[in-house]
Symmetry: C2
Subunit: 340 residues, 2 copies
């Protein structure tokens, strides 16, 4: 691990830890279980691949005030950083192995923050069975900027892709949709009409997505295409359709909602827009050939995971549509965070 | 590749390209030769490992005004970003395969900058035989922040480490030392006494290190330990000694110098300090059992690379020392960029 930290050699007057202390105290323990990470005392990590497997690699960068709020607790920021990457791996059907961490730290980041950040990583490393393989830590005059490159493995040639969906495939999502977008509204004080517990539930979902790591490899049995919902349900379905060469129709009334979001929609149907187009859900959107639903539901049930069929892949000419209970198209100004 | 870019859908009034144009025009061509990158149309890259090889992974983050100058041309920034990572792989004895790129872009970054940045990457991809595997691009209010995770391979179990050096080993470096640190001084107007061509040569070396990619795998034949010189010669030798459990004596007069740096030392012996302790050389520092020098020089000659023996690993109690021609210790305030 590189040691180009905005810290002095020793503890300073404010009790800010020295640079070696930062690596040794906070980060080296996170690498203890990875043989090839060499306790972060080397410039690179070594991984001996498992025979019969491909590696899957993904990178995500989070910037303070863009992807998380400056007031978000450090442990939640750490866990979100790791989880958004684990979500990408799960959507490929991959099992996670390890990750490399790059941190650009403003001067206000102190030992207490780093300690809490490392605690968050440690918690999720145990939860998802991954280790820190290596990293780089640098100083910045700008916002806190965090990047994780996550590595997973999948049986050779079996990784799921965005392409692969066929006309007639059923469309499924895991978990519930809309909590991320409405949780952000709640966290920034832009959401009225909910009791405190429901607000807290939505904010938690925004701050701490639940990557479907345990279910990812199950997808290999039946999914034709998959990706995780980060840009927004319709935008991400659009990505899948673009690469698969299909259209899609989403039955909006089938989209699975958490109780707080269902209540918001009962109060004001306009909340359907952030549900369909908001981002940050980190659920898996996948397609499967017709007739697979019973097998899928059985597997989901074993994993204690809600999986819901929300529509059908159509021919490309039919485009990407969301329809209401009566089959009438719901007009959306745009599909999601990524503008079309 | 994620598409969370600070760009509008279409070209704006200033001719700033749309977000799809950025990925498709600038970055997708860099991924064209990597099957598992899927033209950056997916969330993750797939790599089928080569039988009999371990993977080597490393990450580096560069921040504007910390690691490169705001006035540095975009293509040189791109190439430096890639090269500092390739240097880490070479020092493990690994051959590079591909890389993932994370960019945090301030609003002033326009299509012209990105085009030049991508041109720099394309040039070095060809030079070093690597492809872009994936990436993430986000917006920031802060300085331009760039991160590369590079992946290479090495025959199973053979990756070189910082540890492995033994008392009595010869210490070698590739290329010349000190150009990076004195090049930075030249680039920031803090270096007098050189003609324009020499100044330009040093600045180029600072802006564009030459990772020893072709020589890296040769190290597997004879090196006991290796790392690249990024923190500074003495600091990095200190890292090698710390992990190897040895001391080291460097014969300062043997440290290989470029012509401009040799001339600077002739003018003022004080320039020896940045040579021994300055960073950013990205040469490989390695150790080998005694009696190997002829074989090493023969191999280096084949690759057209200068390799120089600069000292010996000693017992730990002797510490880390630089000595002059007469064998007297040269006192250095600190070892390099990483303060001890």
């Amino acid at each position: 691990m590189s040691r180009d930290l905005p810290f002095d050699k020793a503890r300073d007057a404010r009790g800010r830890p020295g640079e070696f202390e930062v690596i040794d105290t906070f980060f080296a323990p996170l690498a203890a279980s990875a043989i090839g990470a060499y306790g972060l005392k080397d410039d690179a990590a070594i991984w001996q691949p498992t025979a019969g497997h491909d590696l899957v690699l993904t990178v995500d960068m989070l910037v303070e005030s863009v992807h998380f709020l400056p007031t978000d607790p450090a442990d939640l920021v750490a866990r979100k950083l790791l989880r958004v990457n684990l979500s990408d791996l799960a959507a490929k059907g991959a099992s996670p192995l390890g990750y490399l961490l790059a941190l650009s730290l403003p001067a206000r980041i102190d030992g207490a923050w780093l300690s809490q950040f490392a605690e968050g990583l440690a918690l999720d490393q145990r939860a998802y069975g991954v280790s820190l393989w290596g990293g780089d830590t640098v100083s910045t005059d700008g916002p806190l900027t965090l990047s994780v490159t996550a590595v997973g493995q999948v049986p050779t040639g079996q990784a799921l892709r965005r392409g692969g969906g066929q006309v007639g495939d059923d469309i499924f999502v895991t978990g519930t949709i809309g909590d991320g977008a409405l949780g952000l509204k709640a966290a920034t004080g832009m959401l009225d009409g909910l009791d405190e517990a429901s607000r807290a539930q939505l904010i938690q979902r925004y701050q701490l997505p639940e990557p479907r790591v345990a279910f990812g490899p199950d997808l290999l049995t039946f999914a034709t295409a998959a990706l995780d919902v980060s840009d927004g349900l319709m935008a991400d379905l659009g990505h899948l359709c673009d690469v698969s060469g299909t259209g899609a129709t989403v039955e909006a009334n089938c989209v699975p909602l958490s109780e707080p979001v269902a209540r918001l929609l009962d109060m004001d149907r306009q909340h359907l827009v952030p549900v369909l187009t908001g981002g940050d859900d980190y659920e898996i959107l996948f397609t499967a050939r017709p007739g697979q639903e019973a097998a899928i539901q059985s597997r989901a049930c074993e994993k204690g995971l809600r999986v819901t069929r929300i529509g059908t892949l159509t021919d490309k000419a039919s485009g990407l549509r969301a329809v209401d209970r009566a089959g009438a198209e719901i007009v959306l100004a745009h599909r999601g965070y990524t503008h079309f």
